[in-house]
C-alpha cells in the first residue's frame, strides 16, 4: 500500500500528507442550496496513489477542486482540508495560490483549458521556474530546463511549439509537465485520460504512474472507470451521489467489493478479455445527493435494500482490517454478493450464426474523401476511408473498432446515405446503395427498412419539442400503414426497450441519457430493421447505464433476431456484443476476424497496441506497460 519512505516534511502522525475531514460541498444558485458532497473523509499519504471513483455527477471533480481551493463561483466547501497542519479551506486566496503549484497541482480532463494557446509549450512549463535563490531563470537555462521537463513527460521536441499544433495526448503531457513545474508533493488528476483516444489513455495513465514513482509524489486520480483505478491506484474511494460508499486497498476491493454499488459498478464494466454470460446492471440512474440525504444513497437501486436501509445515510464502518463500507447489511449479504459475481463472470461461448451465402451488407473498397473545409482551397483533402471492404451477414453482429478519426462514423454514415462515398460499392440486401440520391422510391424504402442507425449522443438525437409517443408514431405511420393501432404499436416498442408505456407522453427533457438512448433504439426498431448500426451508442452514458443498454442490445438480438454493426472504441464492449470484428486504422481495415481470435491474438501492430491499452490491474496476467 503506502510507501515505506521516512516521514517527510508535513506528514502528520498517521503518515498522511493531505487529509480531508468532514468535507461538505454545497452549491447555491438563486435561493436554493444543493448538496454536492457530504461528510467526506479522505487521506493521501506520501508517495501514494489514491483513486476517487464515481459516475458523473457523483461529486468527484468538485471534491478535487475543493482540495485545492478552486471551486467555481456559487460553490462553497465546509470542513477541513489539512496540508502541513493548516486548513486550506480557511486560507486566503493569496496563501492558497502559493500552495497551488508548489505543494499541490491539478491536471484536468481537457488539457486545452489549462494551457495558454498563445504561449509556446516550453514557456508554459518553465515560466514560473526560479533558481535556488528565488530568482527567475535566465533565458538559456529556462529553455534547457523546459526541454528537460518536457523530456520527463516524453515529448522533448515540443519546446518551441504551440499547444494547438499538438495532439490531445501530447497536450495532456504538456499540461502535466506544467503542473509539475513547481515540483508539487501532491498531484491531483481529474479524469486526465477520459478525453483521449484509448491507446493514448493508457499511455497517459502509465506516464502519471511513473512520474508518481520517480518523484515519490502523492497522486490523487479521479476517474469514472473502476478498472482504471484498479490498474493505477494503491487505494480507492468509491463516491456515489456525494457520499463515500467504500474505501479500501485497490487489490482488495477488486478481489472482493464490500458494497453493492462497487460490485454493481464492477459488473457494469465488462472485462475485455472474455464474454460474460450475463451483463448485470444496476437498475435506474444516479440520484441527486439531496434526494438520498437521509437514506442509504443506493437504496432505491439496491437489490438487497430493506426498510432499515432507509432510516439514515449509513456512515462508513470498518469491515475487517483496513476496509471501510457504508453498507449496513454487508455482513449478511457478503456471501450472496460473492456468488452473484461468480455467476455473472462465467465466460460465455460466442455463437456464430450459420454463414449465409449472401451477406446482408457488403462493402467493397469504399473510399470517402472530404475536401478540407477548415483550410479552404489548395490544401490536401482528408481521406476518411481509404478503401474499406467488409461484410455483415444476416442476423450477424459485427464490431468496428478504432480510435477517433479512423473513419468509423464516416463508414456508418455512408451505409445509411447520410454521406455519399467517393468511390467503391455498398450493397445492402441486394440493392446497390452506393448512391442514395439515385435510388428509386421503392429501393429507398427497402433500404430504410433494412438498415437503421442509433447515434452516440442521446441528448441531441431526439427532437426536443416532440413527445416520445409522437416521435414513434410518426415512424409507425410511415412504415406500417396497414396497422390501425398506433397507440398499441408505441406501447409495444417502448416495452421492447424496457420503458413503461406512460413514457409516450414525455418530452426528451424529462428523460435521462439512458432513457433517451432507449427511445432512440425504439425509434430505430419501429421500422423492423434487420440491421442496426450503433455508433458508439453507450459511450456518452454513465457506466451503470451503459451496462443496461448493452444488456438491452443483447436481449433485442435474442428476441427479434436483429443484427448489429457495432461501432466503438471500447474493446470490452465489443467483446460482449459481437461475433466478428474489424479493426479500422486511419481509414483502412488492418485486421478482422472472430472477436475472440482478434482480441486474444492480435496480429497487426495497431491492434496489439489497442489490446494492450486496456487497463489491467496487477492481479491480472499481463503487466501494465
Amino acid at each position: 500500500m503506502s510507501s515505506n519512505a521516512e516521514p517527510l516534511r508535513g506528514v502528520d502522525a498517521n503518515g498522511s500528507l493531505l487529509t480531508a475531514v468532514g468535507l461538505a460541498i454545497h452549491s447555491r444558485i438563486g435561493g436554493d442550496q444543493r448538496t454536492i458532497v457530504t461528510n467526506l473523509d479522505l487521506s493521501l499519504n506520501e508517495a501514494e496513489t489514491v483513486g476517487i471513483v464515481g459516475e458523473s455527477g457523483s461529486g468527484k471533480s468538485m471534491t478535487a477542486r475543493a482540495l485545492v481551493g478552486l471551486l467555481p463561483t456559487g460553490l462553497s466547501a465546509r470542513g477541513e482540508v489539512r496540508l502541513d497542519g493548516s486548513n486550506l479551506l480557511e486560507m486566503s486566496q493569496r496563501a492558497l495560490s502559493r500552495i497551488r503549484g508548489s505543494e499541490i497541482a491539478l491536471v484536468l480532463q481537457d488539457p486545452f483549458t489549462m494551457l495558454n494557446p498563445v504561449t509556446r509549450c516550453g514557456d508554459q512549463v518553465a515560466d514560473g521556474l526560479v533558481d535556488a535563490r528565488g530568482r527567475r531563470l535566465g533565458r538559456r537555462t529556462r529553455r534547457e530546463e523546459a526541454a528537460r521537463r518536457l523530456a520527463e513527460v516524453g515529448i522533448p521536441e515540443t519546446v518551441d511549439r504551440y499547444p494547438f499544433e499538438l495532439s490531445g495526448g501530447m497536450r495532456q503531457r504538456v499540461a502535466i509537465a506544467a503542473a509539475l513545474a513547481g515540483d508539487p508533493r501532491v498531484l491531483i488528476a481529474d479524469e486526465p485520460s477520459t478525453a483521449l483516444d484509448v491507446t493514448t489513455q493508457g499511455e497517459i495513465l502509465a506516464l502519471l504512474k511513473s512520474l508518481q514513482t520517480s518523484r515519490s509524489m502523492a497522486l490523487l486520480l479521479i476517474t469514472h472507470d473502476l478498472r482504471v483505478a484498479f490498474s493505477t491506484c494503491d487505494r480507492i474511494y468509491v463516491l456515489y451521489a456525494g457520499s463515500l460508499l467504500e474505501v479500501g486497498d485497490a487489490s482488495a476491493v477488486e478481489a472482493e467489493p464490500l458494497h453493492p454499488y462497487t460490485l454493481g459498478l464492477l459488473l457494469s464494466e465488462p472485462p475485455a478479455d472474455r464474454r460474460l454470460t450475463e451483463l448485470v446492471a444496476i437498475p435506474g440512474s444516479v440520484p441527486a445527493a439531496d434526494d438520498v440525504a437521509t437514506i442509504c444513497p443506493l437504496a432505491p437501486r439496491c437489490q438487497w435494500a430493506q426498510p432499515k436501509c432507509e432510516v439514515t445515510n449509513p456512515p462508513l464502518k470498518p469491515v475487517g482490517a483496513e476496509r471501510l463500507s457504508a453498507c449496513l447489511r454487508i455482513d449478511e449479504i457478503r456471501a450472496e454478493m460473492r456468488s452473484l459475481r461468480h455467476h455473472a463472470e462465467r465466460p460465455a461461448v460466442v455463437h456464430h450464426p450459420a454463414e449465409a451465402s449472401v451477406p446482408l451488407v457488403s462493402v467493397d473498397n469504399l473510399q470517402k474523401t472530404f475536401a478540407d473545409a477548415s483550410t479552404r482551397r489548395g490544401s490536401a483533402p482528408v481521406i476518411a476511408l481509404g478503401g474499406v471492404s467488409l461484410t455483415v451477414g444476416v442476423t450477424e453482429s459485427v464490431g468496428l473498432v478504432g480510435e477517433s478519426g479512423s473513419g468509423k462514423t464516416t463508414l456508418a454514415r455512408c451505409l445509411v446515405g447520410l454521406e455519399t462515398p467517393t468511390a467503391g460499392a455498398i450493397t445492402i440486401d441486394g440493392v446497390d446503395a452506393s448512391n442514395y440520391g439515385s435510388l428509386s422510391a421503392d429501393h429507398l424504402r427497402q433500404l430504410r427498412r433494412t438498415v437503421q442507425i442509433v447515434f452516440q449522443d442521446p441528448y441531441s438525437s431526439l427532437n426536443p419539442l416532440r413527445t416520445v409517443g409522437s416521435a414513434l408514431k410518426e415512424v409507425l405511420e410511415l412504415h406500417r400503414k396497414r396497422s390501425r393501432n398506433l397507440e398499441g404499436g408505441v406501447a409495444e416498442l417502448l416495452e421492447q426497450v424496457g420503458l413503461p408505456a406512460s413514457f409516450s407522453r414525455r418530452k426528451p427533457v424529462a428523460l435521462s441519457g439512458g432513457e433517451r438512448q432507449r427511445v432512440a433504439i425504439a425509434r430505430a426498431l419501429a421500422v423492423k430493421p434487420r440491421l442496426i448500426i450503433c455508433d458508439e451508442p453507450v459511450s456518452a452514458l454513465d457506466v451503470s447505464v451503459q451496462a443496461q443498454i448493452l444488456g438491452l442490445f443483447r436481449t433485442l438480438r435474442d428476441e427479434l433476431g436483429v443484427g448489429y454493426l457495432f461501432i466503438t472504441h471500447d474493446l470490452a464492449v465489443v467483446r460482449q456484443v459481437v461475433e466478428r470484428v474489424y479493426v479500422l486504422y486511419r481509414g483502412e481495415v488492418v485486421e478482422s476476424g472472430p472477436v475472440d481470435a482478434v482480441l486474444d491474438h492480435p496480429q497487426h501492430a495497431y491492434t496489439v497496441r489497442l489490446v494492450e491499452s486496456v487497463p489491467r490491474s496487477a492481479s491480472q496476467q499481463r503487466p501494465m506497460r
Binding site: 447520410l418 429507398l444 424504402r445 442507425i453 447515434f455 441528448y459 441531441s460 426536443p464 432512440a520 425509434r523
Partner: protein
Amino acid sequence: MTSLVVGPRAQVGRRLLRSSPLTVTVSFVFVGLLIFLALFGPLLAPHGPESLNLATGLTTPNGEFWFGTDDLGRDVFSRTIYGVRYALFGPVLIVVGAFVIGNVLGLAAGYRGGLLDASIMRWVDLMYAVPGLLVTIVLIGVLGASYLLAVVVLVVLTSPFDTRIIRGVTLEQRSLPYVEAARTLGLPVRAILFRHIFPNILPISFANAFLNFAFSLVALSALSFLGLGIGPGTADWGRMLSESRLLLFDNPVAALAPGGMIVLTATSMNLIGDWLYDRLADRGRAR
C-alpha cells in the same frame, strides 16, 4: 441552438441584467398598450382624426386638446391615437411577409444545399450589397408614391436578413442527430422541415421579427416623412411629423408626439427582440 437544452437557472440573472428586466417589462407593457389602442383607440379618441376645427385654429395643449392642435385645427392627441393603427399595420405586413419568405427560402437553402442554396445566397448577398432605402426612394419616385408599394419594397429588402439567419440555424439543425435520424427513417422532406426543424428554429424567427418590426416602422415613417409613403393628411406618425415640423415653435407637441411614439415603439420592439435573442443565445451556450 434553440430549444435543445433549457439553460440552467444561474444564467438567467446575468442575462436579464444585460437587458434589464425593467426596460423589457416596460417595453412589453408599452407594446400591449399600442395593441389596445389599435383595437379600441377610435372609441377613446376625443375627436376624429380628420375633423377640422378651423375656428380653433392652431393651439398649444389645453384642457380640450391635450396635445394641442395643428395648423388645420386637428386634435394632435386623437391623431396620435389613430396613428397607432398605421404604425402597427404596415410593419406587421412587412414582418409577416419577410417571415414567410425568409423561412421558406432559409429552410430550403439550409436543408437542400447545393445549387438552390448557392442561388438563394447569391440573391441575399446582392440584396445586402444594395443601399436599401436609397433604392426604395428611387423606385417609389419613379413609380409614384404608394403605401402598398412601400410595404412590398420593404418586404423584399427585409427578407434577405431573415433568409440568412434562418439558413444558418437550419444548417445547424440539419447536422443534429435528430434530423439525421429522421432522414434515415425515411420521413418525407416536408415532414422533416416543417414538423422537426421549423418548430426548433421558430424562436429565432420570432426574435428576429421584433427587430424587423422596429426597422420597418422607422423605414415606413421615413418614407411617409419624405412624402413617399402614405397619402397627405393621413394620421400616420411619419406624415404627422413632416406636416408639423414647421409648427415647432407654435405647438411643439404636434411634432414631438408622433416623433416620440416612433422612437418609443421602435425602441420597445428592439429591446424585446434583443432580449429574446439573448435568451436563445444563452440557451445555446448551456449545451
